[in-house]
């Protein structure tokens, strides 16, 4: 305190006020504090929901700033194929997005698709892989799980040989997903990312269990990523007349499909059934999806079902084929009418044959798409290690990992990629730290509630600094900072335009749309440098220098205003130690 007396005045009028020329630095308000703020980044619900645990909040932050390079490389830390996943992933991230409770979820997959495409065309998207470390891995199958295994392993310096029984890479991406969902060019360009020194593709090489022993001299581990290659048969009288759905999709993709016309029954309720039906429509046929339960129970993703129905494809529910008979110029399919039975312990509705007489359906062709299963030789139930997305068994003293559809509960591309990531991390821990460390290391890399694990955390990246187990829910978002803005819509081909083309149905965002949509992201749980904490600090105790904020504890009085104002819960208040 410095009292200043100012009595000198031309008119001699007394003037005495309290005036100080010292500054407030002497007033160490930090001594008042009994709780202290801390920058503590957390997990956004989208990342928690993503099988790959992608750091979506950070990706959107970079994307909103049009910093494509940072956004793209952030994606690549957890996902080798953003342009593919931006198209074919069923984006559980968007179902978990906090923004839906304000207006609508952020269109995360459109942003990922834009960034993935940017990576395919930009020269700045180059990735530098480390030098090879001398160890070599054998990977069976060049589908999503095998490709991801090779990618993540190569990122850790492992040399990889991929054995593929067909003559091209991609697996289900090539064989099972129609080009109207995943254009051929995009797929081929994405696969180029693995066309690097240290990853070798060995085509037309089927590997059996018996061969592994003979190959063990050359490899440090094997990764079985061969998928459920075996289609499940209808197992009814006349099932030989049924065309295999997955095989049909493959033939379409390589332009070797038979000419199919007329009414075609597609049996099944999964994504393959939908893909087959929509492909047949584009070939000029009239597909009818026949499913033994109702639409509600269809395992296909709801928006895929919607897209099929929007294109005019008929769906017949509660019908199960019991016989297919060949007539003169067509097939006669007899169908059992089904009715709801008891619910299973998991609450799933079962369907049982109704007493009503069966129906018959005259059709020109029938396609079976009721699922796939793994080849018998890979079946196993004795494991040395069992994790969410992979399992491991030592065979002839080297570790063999079962990955992808062989082990994952949900058979999607993204789960397969996640499986490759998990298996590589597990192997790397096994090799460098020992078997006993696998579970604890994987747990340290877990995102949110798991099971997704982060490759960035495993590699000691910035993300490791976060409280990754804590998920920021909507009630922790300061919505005062977010006016309601509806999600941007994308263009889709009309019903008529779909009929004769395998062109991509859904258009992506342009640059402006992409950054606008990314700006809608709350960036839950991460600091996006909005500076609100610093602006609101009544003691000016938050300082900005050298591109980071820090709290001057001499002056922070622990009022918590920074935490209350933080729009995205990137700060915590802690009791003084």
């Amino acid at each position: 305190m410095n009292q200043s007396i100012q009595t000198e005045s031309p008119n001699n009028v007394s003037l005495l006020i309290s005036q100080s020329r010292t500054n407030t630095l002497g007033n160490k308000t930090g001594t008042w504090r009994f709780v202290r703020p801390k920058y503590q980044e957390k997990t956004a619900p989208c990342s928690n929901a993503c099988p790959l645990g992608i750091d979506i909040a950070t990706v959107e932050m970079f994307a909103s700033r049009k910093d494509y390079q940072s956004a793209f490389h952030k994606l690549l830390m957890e996902n080798p194929f953003p342009a593919i996943c931006g198209r074919v992933c069923f984006h559980p991230c968007e179902s978990a997005c906090n923004r839906q409770f304000l207006d609508q979820s952020v269109g995360i997959h459109y942003i990922e698709r834009f960034l993935g495409d940017w990576g395919l065309t930009s020269k700045q998207s180059h990735i530098s892989y480390p030098k090879l470390n001398g160890a070599k891995l054998g990977i069976v199958g060049a589908g999503p799980a095998g490709l991801a295994t090779a990618y993540f392993a190569r990122c850790l310096g492992y040399q990889c040989d991929i054995f593929e029984k067909s003559d091209q890479p991609g697996g289900l991406l090539t064989m099972g997903i129609p080009s109207y969902r995943l254009p051929d060019q995009t797929l081929q360009n994405e696969l180029q990312r693995l066309n690097i020194d240290g990853i070798q593709f060995k085509y037309k090489q089927s590997i059996s269990v018996d061969q592994l022993d003979a190959m063990k001299q050359s490899y440090d581990a094997f990764f079985l990523c061969c998928g459920d290659a075996q289609s499940i048969s209808l197992n009814i009288s006349g099932d030989a007349y049924a065309i295999d759905g997955l095989n049909l999709l493959r033939q379409i993709r390589i332009h070797e499909a038979p000419s199919l016309e007329g009414t075609i029954a597609v049996i099944g309720g999964g994504n393959t059934a939908i893909d087959v039906a929509r492909s047949l429509l584009r070939m000029g046929a009239h597909p009818i999806i026949v499913y033994r339960r109702t639409r509600k129970e269809m395992p296909a993703h709801p928006h895929e079902i919607d897209a099929a129905l929007d294109e005019g494809i008929a769906l017949k529910e509660c019908l199960s084929p019991i016989e297919i008979q060949k007539e003169a110029d067509h097939l006669q399919m007899r169908l059992q009418v089904m009715k709801p039975g008891e619910k299973t312990k998991n609450g799933r509705q079962t369907y049982i044959p109704d007493d009503n007489p069966s129906e018959t359906m005259p059709i020109n062709h029938v396609v079976s798409a009721i699922g796939t299963e793994m080849e018998i030789m890979w079946q196993n139930d004795q494991w040395d290690l069992s994790m969410s997305h992979c399992r491991m068994k030592n065979i002839a003293d080297i570790p063999v990992f079962w990955c992808g559809d062989l082990t994952t509960s949900e058979k999607t591309v993204t789960h397969a990629l996640a499986s490759g990531k998990q298996a590589v991390i597990a192997f790397d821990v096994l090799k460098n730290k020992g078997f006993d460390e696998i579970h604890s290391v994987c747990h340290q890399c877990q995102i949110g509630e798991g099971p997704a694990i982060s490759f960035e955390i495993y590699r000691q990246g910035e993300r490791k600094q976060r409280d990754n187990s804590e998920i920021v829910n909507f009630d922790r978002i300061n919505t005062a900072y977010f006016p309601s803005i509806p999600a941007l819509q994308v263009n889709k081909l009309s019903q008529n335009d779909c009929l004769n083309t395998f062109d991509e149905v859904v258009s992506g965002f342009d640059e402006l749309q992409m950054s606008e949509e990314a700006s809608r992201c709350f960036n839950c749980g991460i600091c996006n440098d909005c500076d609100t904490c610093r602006i609101f600090c009544p003691e000016m105790a938050i300082q900005w220098d050298q591109n980071s904020r820090h709290i001057l504890m001499d002056y922070c009085k622990g009022c918590g205003i920074c935490i209350a104002e933080c729009p995205r819960d990137a700060m915590n208040l802690e009791v003084e130690p």
Binding site: S9, V13, S14, L15, S18, Q19, N23
Partner: protein, 384 residues
Amino acid sequence: MKQVLEGSHAVSEAVRLARAKVISAYPITPQTHIVEALSEYCADGSMDARFICVESEHSAMASCIGASSAGVRTFTASSSHGLALMHELLHWASGARLPIVMAEVNRALGPGWNIWMDQSDSLSQRDTGWIQLYCETGQEVLDTTLQAYRLAETVNLPVMVVLDAFFLSHTYEPVDIPDQKSVDTFLPSFVPRISLDQQEPNAIGQMAPPAYYMEMRHSIQMAMQAVLPHFIDVEREFNNVFGRTYGPVTPYACDDAEYIFVMAGTSASTCRQAIKTLRDQGHKVGVLKLKMFRPFPYQYIRKNLEKAKKVIVLDRNCSFGAGGIFAQEIRSAMYACKAHPQIFSYISGLGGRDITVDHFFEMLDRTEKSGYPENESVWIGLNP
């Protein structure tokens, strides 16, 4: 140049001529016309000032305090409940010794809800450390506002220019509006004795513990005591430039008067009318109009009243439980005289009720017939 002007606009014109730099106000009847005109001047560029719209009178005064602390000439206007809401900050303005000028239009406080003339609002702020100058005509309003800036900036105390609701604020009269050059001669640009300065950072108004506070209060009182001589100087200079003067009090027919009316505001005009008639009838009466209420001009009051037999104080206010506020002040001022006149207190014209010539006749009649003043004020003009 003479113009027919509303009393409110006489204030507005004066503030424009004074080149105030920051005006912050919240509208309230009957003050609104003052700031309405000023906001237009700011908008049309005829005034180079910032008009700050605020959500309350409390904030209006806060804005003025901020601007004045930064060293610029400021203005606000208020009335009644609005002034009451400012109360806390009125103390701050004087304690911080900021030369803020405010126009205060005398209006009653509710309930019952009343927008008309009454002195309760300004007199409730008697002890806030503001200089209070009461006006009678549109010309006096304009002149007093200009003088107020000179005075405030000389003694570093805020000034309240007080005018009657409607009787003055909304009445059109011919007013001589001086030219800018003359005003600039009388009122040069403001050079603050204290202000915030980016080149030499300092904080003002912070804690003053017991070892310091009392001297600061004493300084305010000393400054108040210096107001009267400085006001005389200001008026003299004003007279030199504009040829008009008012004085801290204005006596009329007081020299030989046995009975002297005392009051502030427009009722003095009515009173003079009554005195002409009463003089014709042989009564030795006069009127002393109060212009300055704070500081209270003791010497001027004593000098003008000490020879009278009886003094009749008219209050358009009431300090409930005591009586008319002007009367109390006059009594205490006259107590120091060796042979002081008896002080008779009358209350009339509250909430805008008219005070007529007949009311003055009645007051005189009662005073002549009373041997000694009653303890409490006598109310004149109550409904039967």
